[in-house]
């Protein structure tokens, strides 16, 4: 075969490394977890250490793309468990950088909703375990928007008084999804003509935007600078926590179901400890602590059942049922089509 890639190269390097170091003592029980900062309770790792005696270190990454780039370039050396969104977990698997999940080492998998074991990118949780899940929709100030928004159209061609007070996500998959969904297409659409059609719509929509914003949109809602934003549900909750007039809605055309997963790195030297970490996270009390701490839904039935009901009143999107979530389309890795998406997003963002 002519197809040698960087990863096989990296795999050879790590294989050589393993063979070169048989004399070194078996690695002490220590694992490295990479996650977004603040995406798990601060005391989670120290509690894990107390419960299991396994030392866990917290590394951080800013985006899926960055940790992916780092793992691809280095073969993932040094990392044991990565928190990434599902399309990235899928790509890690395709690049042979994800270790198989051994269910016998994670008894707490039974705490997950049945639906969480049937996700399209990884049915049966063979290489990834879901950590949090949710939807993308509209997060808005009910007191500043006349009539509740209910369609992607409301975002793409806002009513006159909302023009210049709307923000959209610019992360490629979610930006494209807003256009594709409003046209009734799949969020994983691969047809070039349809991608172009969605792109044209999004270029048109740019005229009415205040800005693209993936990081501070909830803050703009609180200050009143924006009235309607394209948002991830869990993130909308940070706005709701500051201002009760902020609400979240899923447009009637439907949306995507995003899943953030835990993946064990193929090169992990301590896979057993990595499995025990995942098992610990899936524990009912730990899961409930995670959900109430980060305000994102966890796909953990036992944990959601244990959650303080007051949270469901304050943050209604936390109460969304798995069956409703599963009705939304799941983001998949696009393979070759990714190039077309990236080019289209570049075109949209640079258009005048």
């Amino acid at each position: 075969m002519n197809k040698l890639n960087v990863l096989t190269l990296a795999a050879c390097v790590s294989a050589a490394l393993t063979m070169a170091a048989p004399l070194s003592a078996p690695a002490a029980d220590k694992i490295v977890i990479s996650n977004w900062d603040g995406y798990m309770p601060e005391d989670l790792l120290s509690n894990f250490e107390k419960a299991t005696g396994i030392q866990a270190e917290h590394a951080v990454h800013a985006t899926n793309e960055e940790i992916m780039g780092k793992v691809v370039a280095s073969g993932g050396r040094g990392y044991d468990v990565l928190f990434v969104s599902s399309p990235f977990a899928e790509a890690l698997k395709q690049l042979q950088l994800a270790a198989p999940i051994d269910h016998s080492l994670i008894p707490n998998l039974r705490n997950l909703y049945a639906e969480a074991g049937q996700l399209g990118y990884d049915p049966g949780n063979t290489f990834s375990v879901p950590y949090a899940w949710g939807t993308t929709g509209l997060c808005y100030r009910a007191d500043l928007v006349s009539g509740a928004p209910g369609s992607w159209e409301d975002l793409l061609s806002p009513q006159a008084d909302l023009r210049g007070k709307v923000t959209m996500l610019s992360t490629d998959r979610w930006l494209m999804a807003a256009g594709l969904l409003s046209l009734g297409y799949s969020v994983n659409e691969k047809d070039a003509a349809r991608i172009n059609e969605a792109g044209d719509l999004l270029i048109e929509a740019k005229r009415h935007l205040l800005s693209y914003d993936d990081t501070t949109f909830y803050s703009k809602l609180v200050s009143g600078e924006a009235a309607l934003t394209h948002a991830w549900d869990g993130w909308c909750n940070y706005g709701i926590a500051e201002n009760a007039d902020i609400e979240y809605v899923i447009p009637r055309e439907g949306t995507d179901l995003w899943v953030d997963t835990m993946v064990i790195v193929a090169g992990s030297e301590n896979r057993e400890a990595a499995h025990r970490f995942i098992d610990y996270v899936l524990n009912a009390e730990v899961g409930a602590w995670v959900a109430s701490n980060i305000l994102y839904k966890v796909p953990n039935k036992a944990a959601m059942d244990a959650l303080d009901p007051a949270l469901f009143t304050q943050f209604p999107n936390l109460a969304m049922k798995p069956a409703d979530l599963l009705r939304q389309e799941q983001l998949r890795d696009l393979g070759e089509t990714q190039k077309a998406y990236t080019r289209m997003v570049t075109k949209i963002l640079s258009s005048r």
Binding site: M68, A91, T167, Y212, L349
Partner: protein, 282 residues
């Protein structure tokens, strides 16, 4: 004579470092530009020139031109602000000069992201600047200060002004005060002294400062994203997206090579002009 050898010893550590930690690693990445992206990222070793053909896409060329224009504007403004400041510092008593330099750079030991957030607080529609102007009766309706080219340029100028101050200071402080006095004693006014004596001597600092602002601006991607509201793409965004979002290393490498080629050509032209200038003066 040992001149050549001594010169070699001065150059060796720097060239060795750059050779080992820049030339060799980057050669590997640039080598990728002759191959194809694998389906899920990674490289497939099929030789192709496709990546270079793609860099000629008018979409990417227009981004290059546009970000070149924004970077040039930021460079010009940064120079107009920084030059007189550096000159003023060089006029201060000698032992105060380094304190002034410290004070100019010290705000930049905070963090880029939160400094940028601070600008958002200042410039947004409900922001401090708009409120101040409104309460002074200068404006009736809020000015659109944020999420446009003005905000991007302001952010770039703000972050890179201190670098120009440092570069210009390094060359302006070299000027012997006696030179200025001599010029004035000969009857030249302050303005004339500046234009005919000071300015020509500080060209190297001006050029270095401008290069800093230009290259750092064109490669920036946080300022256009936050202060430009994501409406502008700099070349930095473009290349970053190819490597990380698209996981298309071969094309990212191709684009980078094009960028580096263009910048080298510009720098070469600039160097030729500076040298010709110097030759004329000497």
């Amino acid at each position: 004579m040992g001149g050549r050898l001594k010169n070699g010893l001065l150059l060796a550590p720097g060239l060795g470092w750059l050779g080992l930690f820049m030339v060799v690693p980057c050669a590997i990445v640039f080598f990728f530009s002759f191959f194809e992206r694998g389906t899920y990222g990674g490289i497939e070793y099929h030789f192709t020139l496709e990546n270079f053909r793609r860099t000629l896409d008018p979409l990417y060329l227009s981004i290059l031109l546009d970000s070149g224009r924004i970077a040039a504007l930021a460079t010009l403004l940064a120079l107009l602000i920084a030059y007189p400041a550096a000159y003023a510092i060089s006029l201060a008593p000698r032992r105060r000069q380094s304190v002034y330099l410290f004070l100019a750079i010290l705000p930049f030991w905070s963090n880029y992201l939160i400094r940028t957030y601070a600008w958002m607080v200042l410039l947004n529609r409900e922001g401090i600047v708009n409120r101040a102007l409104a309460s002074l009766g200068v404006i009736d309706a809020p000015l659109p200060l944020l999420y446009n080219e003005f905000a991007v340029v302001t952010g770039l100028v703000y972050n890179y002004v201190p670098f120009v101050i440092l570069a210009v200071y390094a060359s302006v402080s070299r000027i012997d005060p006696a030179l200025r006095e001599a010029s004035e004693d000969l009857g030249a006014g302050a303005a004339r002294t500046f234009l005919r004596v000071i300015l020509p001597l500080t060209v190297p600092g001006v050029v270095a400062g401008c290069v800093f602002v230009f290259v750092l601006s064109i490669g920036n991607f946080i300022t256009p994203d936050l202060l430009g509201g994501g409406r502008f793409l700099m070349v930095g965004n473009l290349i970053y997206d190819q490597f990380l979002t698209a996981r298309d290393w071969p094309f990212g490498a191709g684009l980078s090579m094009m960028l580096i080629g263009i910048m080298m050509a510009l720098l070469f032209i600039q160097a030729v002009m500076v040298n010709r200038n110097a030759a004329v003066r000497e």
